[in-house]
């Protein structure tokens, strides 16, 4: 009796299998179901106040890329509050902007002279708190883009990296930083390669329902090395850009919505699996390559399923 109870006591730690708690929130990020801004590209991606930057867009719709989107362009003129998590402050969605252009697919403007004061570390008084950089040491001027496509309106923020001086660093470190830091450049995106069971597949002859391996690459120099002021050691350290690829398609499904390489991974390519739709037709594929400092490259492809 006692032995049996003993076994019962110590052997009965059983829980029922809990069910999943996560809700189904619809389509994946990679599926294009409406007009959507996929990328905002500044050229150059990093500029100093007063320098001119031109911006272009990648806009997708379920029917395919929109080559000449009607977009309104504006530079945010109000920094976000310390309490805000987003890329730009709520004020930039309202009146706190400097308009650039209306109804055009591209725009160009000089970065405001006060960009480093509004969004960077410059302060008008030593008593004020300089803004914090991101992990790459960068500060960003938000560029608001409003795209109208029929009844749909999509709002996006491009973030132009602003070349500002270091804050709170020793003079010798600041000098060294100015000497060594190289402004970011946009990466280049290599061709899209598709294979099926290891064999190359033409993009206009994809078997319906087939699962392809898609590969994109970039030049080794696209993942640039850059110096950043390390707050822990209070010295400059050198890092390498992480690269990230966003995949979008109007049909079919990807294994992963995003792929990429961290700064520790030296590979210059990334792969993804895409399952073609069962119905014959054309699927529009969008690939966006980003480096961690705000550089962008993108491409569109038409995949024909037979």
């Amino acid at each position: 009796m006692r032995r049996r109870l003993h076994a019962l006591v110590f052997g009965a730690a059983v829980a029922s299998a809990p069910f999943a708690c996560r809700p189904d929130l619809g389509d994946r990020e990679s599926r294009i179901t409406r007009t959507q801004v996929l990328a905002v590209r500044g050229e150059p991606p990093e500029a100093k106040p007063g320098e001119t930057v031109s911006w272009s867009l990648l806009v997708a719709s379920p029917e395919g890329p929109i080559s000449e989107p009607r977009a309104s362009w504006a530079l945010c003129a109000t920094p976000k509050l310390l309490t805000e998590n987003g890329a730009a402050g709520a004020a930039c969605l309202q009146g706190g902007v400097r308009p650039i252009a209306e109804g055009v697919p591209t725009a160009a403007a000089a970065l405001p002279p006060d960009a480093c004061a509004l969004f960077g570390p410059e302060v008008t008084s030593a008593d004020l708190r300089p803004r914090d950089p991101d992990v790459t040491g960068g500060y960003y001027q938000p560029v608001r883009v409003t795209v109208t496509d029929g009844a749909e309106t999509a709002v996006a923020f491009g973030l132009e990296r602003v070349g500002c001086a270091l804050a709170n660093a020793a003079a010798d470190v600041t000098t060294d930083y100015g000497r060594r830091y190289v402004a970011n450049a946009n990466p280049e995106l290599g061709p899209l390669e598709a294979t099926l069971d290891g064999a190359p597949v033409a993009l206009d002859a994809i078997p319906s329902g087939a699962t392809l391996s898609l590969r994109v690459s970039w030049p080794a120099e696209a993942a640039e090395r850059y110096v950043v002021y390390d707050l822990a050691s209070r010295a400059l350290v050198e890092r390498r850009e992480a690269m990230r690829v966003s995949w979008f398609a109007t049909d079919g499904s990807f294994e992963s919505d995003r792929t990429g390489r961290s700064e520790d991974e030296l590979e210059t390519a990334t792969t993804n699996a895409w399952t073609a739709p069962r119905a014959a037709g054309t699927t529009h594929l969008f690939v966006v390559l980003r480096d961690i400092r705000g550089g962008v490259a993108f491409a569109t492809h038409a995949l024909v399923t037979r």
């Binding site: 059983v14 389509d27 998590n85 708190r129 991101d134 709002v155 707050l231």
Partner: protein, 840 residues
Amino acid sequence: MRGRRNVAFLSPALLASLALVTGAPAPALAQQRGSDVGGQPTKRKLTKMPRLVRFVEAEYPAAKKRAGVSASVVLTIEIGATGKVTNVSVAESAGADFDAAAVAAAAGFEFEPAEVDDKPAPAKITYRYDFVIAQEPPPPPARPPSAPETAAPVAPPPAGEAGATPGDATAAGARTGGNDVVDEVAIRGGPRARREVVDYAVRAEQAKKVAGTQGDVLKVVQNLPGVSRPPVASGQIVVWGSAPKDTRVYVDGVDLPALYHGSGLRGTINSDLVASIDLVPGAFGAEYGRGLGGLVRVETRSLPRGTHGYVGADTLDGSAFVSTEIGERVRIGSALRYGWLDRVFAATSAPDVGDLFPIPRYRDAQLKATVDLRRRESVDTVVLLSSDELDRTVPSPDPAKRRVEATRSGFWRAYARYTNVSDDGDTATVTPFFGRDTSSLAQRFGANPTRLDVASDRYGVRASLRSKLGSRVVLVTGMDALGTASSVEREGSLTLPPREGDVAVFGQPPGDEYALDRWKTHVLDVGPHVYADVRVGPVTLTPGVRVDAFVIEGSKRLPPAGNVPPIGFSRMETTVAPRASARWDVTRRLAFTAAYGSYHQPPEPEDLSAVFGTPELGLSRALHVTAGESLRVTDSLTIDVVAFDKRMRDLVVRSRLPNPLRARALTQNGEGRSYGVQLLLRQELWRGFFGWASYAVTKSERRFEGDEAWRPFDFDQPHVLSLVASQEIGRWSVGARFRYASGNPRTPVVGSVYDARSDRFDPVFGPQGTTRVPAFWQLDLRVDRTFELGRDVRALVFADLQNVTNRENAEEIAYSADFRRRGIITGLPFIAVVGGRLEL
């Protein structure tokens, strides 16, 4: 042949033990146990012993009678203020059948109640029931001893009705020996901790039986009035609309950083070391400070004589406890626990549960030693340890979505509680303590790291002297000192970890901004205090005052700049906090209460950063006011209604400026108010049944100073209902718990914008706090059975069935990546926690 009851009240040896309890000079005084007189000062007089007026004869176990076996069962009988038996337990077993017969008989006893200060009061006696085979008829029920002529302090005087609630501590006499005598007599006057006018106490034996607690005494706090339902797996305590960090947890008067392990699934102290737990949701007296919220007070249990212990296991964890005595003067006990629920979840293929509500791996251990020094003088030494660990890595082909998370938290405390009761009843306690709290949060979302490490050395002392000034006034003077020397490291965004009032949605990444700081702080608070219990007829007034001198020091007054060495800071703030309470006993059954208090709270070490916070932060302040009534409907059924109002100011909030001054990321522009009414209908143990129903309707709001509109507090739950019931049926015990709670407020998402650099959408918010998570309700059941295995060994097996209706309760609102769709994250489904223990 028949069972014979032991009617030991008449024995001379009993009188000796009574003399011991009442403090009258007697040789037995030298044997008084330290822990039994320790804790809080005592000053009340036992003026009448309980007297047995209705005896119930036990049924002699048939098998034993046939075999000619006689035996003695020593029982602990708890007697309510009306003389009804409220609880019977076996102190010394004679086997399952004899025990059961004795307990059943004793449950039917009736007494004239004991009296303390000439008022009926609960009492606890030790009673030996002898089963002897004899031909003669049983003797008549015994007469009790007369009350001692000179009574001395025996138990802590409550501010309210003596011993009206369970959880009361006992002041026990020494073992006197003798054959047909009571071994111990104890008078329950009040908990060791002084009672407040709004104070909900639960005795450990009952708390273990509450469904949904899995036998964890500390978890019963979540079902008491005024406590909001915490988010699942959070372990937070929100009392009367106060932030979790504003409520203080004390064990034997020593502060602890956490009542629960990080998941909230277990308390940090083994239940077998807990005598009682009580919740004071607000308006507490001058003994306590440094908190704007409420108090949770845990009293550790006196270690029993002999060797006892258990080993047990259930779905959540495994644990063990053992205690023994070393000679006449020393008793020692130790407990261990190791959690394994994380592996149970992993083995049951529930990755979503663990992903959304991570379960840390927890451990805790306790050691208690009691040394009886001299007459009515003792030292309790306690060491408490607790740790939680959680490591998670979520791989992803997307470098921006690779997540690494590692959290650690833990503490240890060591304290010694010295207690001395003088011949005239004055009681002095001194409790020096020291320890260390650590917490570490490390997360990495892609390239963005977040880290917050806090290590705090804590030291202090709590001391009090309770003196009687005449027949109507008891004066308590005390000192409550606490020093906290912290070393903090933080990196990441300012918005993570989040603060109350932040506008965000579940799972939203923090901003991309990155900062780093390392700093040290030292906050010392010395809080002398004094209060008095003044009895004026039916009214008891308790005026008091607490003076706190806060010294706040830090290593950095400004953020680092170049090679400039940091400059520290030091300042002192002194506060005077009046506290007062009153109780008017209109009749023996009806009383009105009121209380008022002023409270102050120093800033958290994490908030004193020159980069992430503000080194110049001062004290936050609050005023509490309560008014209520307490009605004893029957001997064991009470109704308590209380209204409360809390006003808070100088609360620490984030700066609203886009470019605040340096070292001013936080400000003290926060204001708060919380008010409401709560009802408690409570049935004390009656024929094996106990339970309560509590309902609170409250409103808790915050605003930035100068704002016209108030917003709901992040944890505001306007309606909270708890129903708890437990019934013993022989060796079976069944219980149920039902909970309903309004959902916490959330800020609605009205749109979204695309962040083209990070390739993610940011939400666009509507007015803050204008929507809510759907309401929660859940039914839990519990059943357990005790098996007597002989040789003083028993087994307990239990099943705690949580969410028996498998209701998909909403825990959070989640959004799709583009914020166009929203859904509900549901909480834990039906879970059966099954386990058991072997007890010696």
